[in-house]
Symmetry: C2
């Protein structure tokens, strides 16, 4: 890593200067493309350092010299007498643009290039040096398939359509408001998985049996469940004071649906304390889409 010092308005900054160890910093995620990779890894890394940042900026498409110079100035300007050196997480693929930004005097983490040179040695192959294309339309078929998956998820939301279940990769099941819709959309958008979702209703619970429409597709079913208190809180937002949202109803529904999942041998996940990303990763793992 290069380890340059820049001069704030107040004078020369040396390693002994108190500002040098000042913790509050501005964070930049920068790239000549979308900066999604820089943001994803940079955010991951920052979770390990509490209390460091003042604020974060994502700066994509820095793909001309003029833009790189403007970014360099902006990074320098963010470094005032009240702050430590800004942190910059970069996935620039263009060497000359990267150089301009790296010269800003920030702490520069070159997420892309650090590995590219190691991989070139390990694989004994030169990198293609093509502009970062990881979040562009690289493979037209796979991109269009993701967009089709989004349409599929929307058409097949909440049991709206029973005709297309043969196309489904997964059918999410659960009682109302357990996160089936956002999970379906996330899996579709990120991975092009065809996800339908189907609500388990009171009459299914009372009979302790699966809805008839989804019975033939048992191998595709994945259940979502959730703590009764959180479910009640979420339902209260939608229908305040209703029996539907009452803790008692939620407790009964959750306990019955978990019993149904166990009886029918359907894999399921309690989503109370976990995110869409974690749910999606768990579904991919369980159903073998690795």
């Amino acid at each position: 890593m290069t380890f340059r010092l820049i001069r704030p308005q107040s004078g020369i900054l040396t390693k002994k200067h108190p500002l040098y160890i000042m913790k509050i910093r501005t964070i930049f995620f920068v790239s000549d493309r979308t900066a999604i990779t820089a943001e994803t890894l940079g955010n991951s890394l920052m979770t390990q350092f509490n209390g460091v940042e003042r604020d974060r900026h994502v700066i994509p498409f820095v793909d001309t010299e003029a833009r790189a110079l403007a970014l360099k100035k902006r990074i320098n300007d963010s470094y005032t007498v009240n702050e430590g050196r800004p942190l910059v997480f970069s996935t620039f693929t263009d060497d000359s643009l990267r150089e301009i930004v790296a010269e800003s005097g920030c702490i520069f983490y070159d997420l892309f290039n650090d590995y590219i040179s190691r991989m070139e040695r390990d694989l004994r192959q030169e990198s293609s040096h093509e502009m970062g294309k990881s979040h562009g339309v690289v493979d037209k078929n796979s991109y269009e398939s993701r967009m089709r998956a989004v349409n599929y998820a929307l058409v097949n939301d909440d049991g709206a359509c029973l005709e297309h279940y043969q196309q489904a990769d997964v059918i999410l099941v659960g009682v109302s408001r357990t996160g089936k819709t956002p999970t379906s959309l996330f899996l579709a958008l990120q991975y092009g998985v065809f996800v339908a979702n189907f609500p388990i209703t009171d009459s299914d619970l009372d009979n302790c049996s699966l809805p008839r429409a989804i019975k033939p597709y048992k191998k595709k079913l994945f259940g979502l469940t959730i703590g009764a208190e959180q479910l009640s809180r979420i339902r209260e937002e939608r229908r305040p004071g209703s029996p539907y949202a009452s803790l008692r109803t939620c407790q009964r529904e959750v306990s019955q649906v978990e019993e149904l999942f166990q009886l029918e041998n359907i894999p399921f996940l309690n989503v109370t304390a976990i995110s869409i990303e974690e749910i999606a990763a768990q579904i991919r793992l369980t159903l073998g889409f690795d």
Copy 2:
């Protein structure tokens, strides 16, 4: 980087052995959490090396010793006489689990730890060593706000509801089938941006004026447009042979809507060759959500 050699069934592998430079490899993205970061950066890096991989596997939640040992075995098994050493992109935060997997004899890229130690030096602060939480529910408010944004996008899709535009961060506008819905959902899911979308219809185009419902929110508008041929192809999938899908209709609508955007000074983007991720990054940049 550690540079270990493993022994395939056929005998000792040395640097001179032809298999050593064999290019076809299995790629693993592994983590004790979701592996999303490993997959994102790993996929980015792999775009620079064509023809290297046989297939890719994402292995999340390797959070026990038993799972780490199983993964080590799986990585070793993937390395047969017909393949080069597998590549493993890791974001393990647990040192002992990481060690087990790294010992598999793969080429191991330690995306997380490589930077953590550098950041500890640069920031003069020890990392918190907490389990990777970048894709969990770190900040409950921000997570719930993302889920609310998804609901908002669904309720306010395709001009379905005119009451909530004051809450919108962005209102996407464009003729039918220009990618408004997937873009709205992506911005909501990834960034918690409240995005409504509104269709521009024939009568708006004939009058060359914005629909009345969105006129008061002009500063929030962002236009999507697309090449007429691609639009026609997309519409054909929905209504084959219809006037709606004909190239002539599409050419007219695209040319009229671009004229309208220019007249009304609405920022817009031609999405013909770009992805949802690129559209979202451009919208965030243009409207200043950095």
